[in-house]
């Protein structure tokens, strides 16, 4: 593609192709399987957030982003920042399955000397565009990448995924204020709106905790800051592809995609419970999770 323009995805083609949808849904399922397997193996890490983000990560890494896994430093690649860095294993699983590194390496997650640190460390793993882990920062770095692409005449798009709890950080709104000033329509912030944070305020929500925002709050805030806001069911692959495709067709504003998701999506006993943000998994729970994800332990897929 030519420098200076961020070409949109071909409208309609990938989005309407049922085989393509099936391929991406399978990628998302495999991401979830590898997330559960790696966290079970490490006896540490996070489950709820990576599982809520899996479908979007699959869409980005297997369809939407212009990337070259065999050339992770390709200068004209799209950039991606997982600002909710605690969901790192979800990103690692997507990258491994996409071919950035061997899937087997996922079992080194969280281990000493691993390239797959508990929170992403760009100095260790090629293909990571930014380190993260301290919440609220990724969107600023993504803004810098989008602005840098503009200044250097590159048709690069910067994608950043935030948590909804993360949107309580003040820095997020500093970036939200600044990015529209530069008309950065090559910047897309995806908010994984799973309605739960690590613990949350006490109240009459699920498990006695309140969601990070009231309904409609996120979309209203991003719009008020001058962003184009798109909303989507973050587990509906055709809808995700359609919205991310729309996000690539800039209108002079940065785009915020509010993705409505379920924390722990894909494992019945985790869905919608805040404590699966960080809880580790027991052996019998592991078996149930893998069975529900279509990869019963003991079969070829679960034997590794």
């Amino acid at each position: 593609m030519s420098a200076g323009s961020a070409a949109p995805l071909p409208a309609g083609s990938a989005e309407s192709d049922t085989a393509e949808i099936a391929r991406l849904e399978e990628a998302a399922r495999r991401i979830r399987v590898e997330v559960v397997r790696a966290v079970n193996h490490a006896r540490a890490g996070h489950l709820g957030g990576p599982l809520s983000a899996a479908d979007i990560l699959a869409a980005l890494y297997f369809s939407v982003m212009r990337i070259r896994p065999e050339e992770p430093g390709w200068p004209d690649r799209d950039r991606f920042i997982l600002s909710k860095g605690h969901s790192s294993i979800g990103l690692y699983a997507a990258m491994a399955l996409r071919g950035y590194f061997p899937v087997e390496e996922l079992l080194t997650f969280d281990a000493a000397h691993s390239r797959l640190q508990g929170h992403p460390d760009m100095t260790r793993l090629p293909g990571l565009d930014m380190s993260s882990g301290s919440l609220g920062m990724g969107i600023s770095a993504a803004m810098g990448m989008a602005l840098g692409a503009r200044l250097t005449g590159k048709g690069v798009r910067a994608w950043v995924m935030l948590g909804d709890g993360e949107c309580q950080e003040g820095e997020v709104w500093e970036a939200a204020m600044a990015a529209p000033r530069y008309g950065l329509d090559n910047l897309v912030a995806i908010i994984d709106h799973n309605k739960l944070q690590q613990y949350g305020w006490p109240g009459d929500g699920p498990d006695g905790r309140m969601p990070p925002q009231v309904p409609g709050e996120l979309a209203g805030k991003w719009a008020a800051f001058g962003w184009r806001v798109l909303e989507v069911d973050g587990h509906d692959m055709p809808a995700i592809l359609s919205v991310l495709g729309d996000a690539t067709r800039g209108d002079g504003r940065p785009t915020a995609v509010v993705a409505h998701t379920v924390k722990g999506k894909g494992v019945s006993y985790m869905e919608g419970h805040y404590f699966w943000h960080t809880r580790t998994i027991k052996p019998e729970e592991f078996q149930i999770a893998m069975a529900e994800l279509g990869e019963p332990v003991g079969t070829e897929g679960g034997a590794r």
């Binding site: 380190s131 770095a141 840098g148 200044l151 590159k154």
Partner: protein, 314 residues
Amino acid sequence: MTLPMGRAMREVFGETVAALAAEDPRIVMLDGDVGSSTRADIFEKAHPDRYLQMGIAEQNMMGVAAGLSTMGLIPFVSTFVSFAVVRPLDQIRVLIAQTGANVKITPGYAGMFTGQTGMSHIIVDDLAIMRAMPGMVTVAPADDVEADLALRWAASYRGPCYVRIVRDATQRLFDTSYRFELGKAVVVREGRDVTLMATGTQTPRVVDAAELLAARGVDAHVLHVPTLKPLDDDAIVAAANRTGRVITVEEHTVLGGLGGAVAEVLGERRPTQLNRIGLQDTYVQSGPNDELLDIYGLSAARVAEQVLAILGRA
């Protein structure tokens, strides 16, 4: 005989970075809405397309700088020291220091000369904080000549660095033959009786103090330490060997800055009687520059007095 006045370091900052940018299209300037004070506006006039107003949002500014650096640009980040170090410290840590980002943190209004602002705007511990951060080069130039050279060095260095810039005109220590070298301390006065070590714009006042001491029969050796990290351990040990007695002087808290750094080196390599002149674990009030120097014991006369007292010659 006192050292002459030089130009205001902030004017040199705007001009030097603008000149560097004329030669290197990768250089951009990020401003936290104080460009008319820090003189980032000089850069703006020369390169309006590469002047990036970030508004009153310093945390975001540091993150944007990190992102820009990954696109091959060389961001200079400018605001007041008081808002460039502590407020966005976590962004500097995670996005710049931990990633080795090629970002130049070059804030103005270092030290006590801030235009009578008071303690919210006078940061007393920037050198201690920045030098404690793994991966962060920390530089405090003595005058306009050294500031120019340090900024030129920063542009050529690939990695994160902190260069503190002073607002007002201060005394000139160096002539144009001076060559700044990262991590090198420089002897600016030879002497035999006591070694005075100083950093930043305090060094010229210490050189003046040494002249006052000479009139009292004390021959002071003066070592200027512009780079707090990497520190010139060998020069510090050599200067201690020279006289067997060391006094550090800094426009900064004595905790963790030059005094702390020298104590670490001498404690490990050459235990030496050491005294630390500087801000004694206190904040700084607003007031005219000369009055502040006297109040906090950092004028040439007050430094000389304290040295004499320490040496039992008062």
